[in-house]
Symmetry: C2
């Protein structure tokens, strides 16, 4: 089994590395970081470089595809090398997955037409614009398509996938191995639980970037 994690400039690091940390621990699953060209990409805030180890052409038929999100997602919403590879690879994949705004890339490529999917809570509307059915859930599965909500949700998605791929005992062993017993010091991880003024701050930052 081969998992291809797509890297591109200005991705959000944890979108890719959360699932990587979980899925790389599954026996028999080879992980390859794939991108338009070998070398490295810089993440969202620029202070982290991640290595691209294989080009799209070198990984034509991964069993599992994972597309992270981040500000750089906007560069891949039209036809180009990533979209062409995604469509080809999706034709034979067992699972096609995304974290955060990675689902907008899948949707824009036409892979989520009429399917339930999720994204970062600030980007759910965007999914509908590309023909998907937005679902306000942390992990959404529709057939072979699995999408996760914002950034950290990729960890939950990956554990769900390990359960499907390798069974509950392996998934639980991975969870215990990474000591994933979360205790956030605040209850602000969702717009449903965060204080309204915090939601306004985050919406404002987003709006100031987009406008």
């Amino acid at each position: 089994m081969q998992l291809a994690i797509v890297l591109f400039e200005r991705l959000t690091a944890l979108d890719a590395i959360g699932p990587y940390e979980v899925l790389s621990r599954v026996p028999g699953l080879e992980v390859v970081f794939v991108g338009e060209r070998a070398g490295s990409v810089r993440t969202e805030v620029g202070s982290l470089g991640l290595s691209v180890d294989a080009t799209y052409a070198e990984v034509p038929r991964p069993d599992v595809i994972l597309v992270p999100g981040g500000p750089g997602q906007n560069d891949h919403m039209t036809d180009g090398p990533m979209r062409r590879w995604l469509r080809d690879a999706d034709a034979t994949s067992t699972w096609t997955t995304s974290v955060c705004t990675g689902s907008l890339i899948l949707a824009a490529a036409g892979l989520l037409d009429g399917r339930r999917a999720t994204s970062h809570w600030l980007s759910l509307d965007g999914l509908a614009a590309f023909g998907a059915i937005p679902a306000e859930e942390r992990v959404v599965r529709d057939g072979k398509y699995v999408t996760a909500a914002g950034v950290s949700a990729g960890i939950d998605m990956a554990l769900t996938m390990v359960g499907e791929m390798a069974g509950a005992t392996v998934a639980q062993a991975v969870q215990l191995g990474i000591e994933y017993d979360p205790h956030p010091p605040y209850r602000a991880g969702s717009p449903r639980t965060a204080p309204p003024e915090v939601v306004a701050v985050v919406r404002g930052v987003r709006d100031s970037i987009l406008n």
Copy 2:
């Protein structure tokens, strides 16, 4: 303010990237990935390369030090470039922190003598051997020293630190930005909650590596 995240061969990726994703969002906090030599290191399972952007000599006085763990931790338990830098940098740091078995490196360098600290649940005994007082908690603060339990605990530690450094509103905005509203599909993230057979599997894997 400058945060130095230490990279070394065979670190555990999420130990470094979980806190990075949180702390890189703090206004005014510059993040630099530091290591023995510029270039890149490969993580635990070898399929991810992370860029080292500055050598130890180039980052003599970071305000915050973060040491991740992973199998490569074993290479840094004796005197060498990392230990010498840690001791010097710690002399002027505001915070000195670790995730997972990174605390063993800090302890072996003599920085946790007589201090409460935590580590990956499988490595708590090791802390005591190096003079620290092991605490079975997810995030432990003793003075300027903050240590996190295994791998994913670095996210909780980082949010706790943001609250201390920049206040609760910023910390909550970061939490909402990365949609950290965890819903693990299993309750296996701690040896206290995981099924006994799962605990035995993970202990067995560790023992098979060590013996």
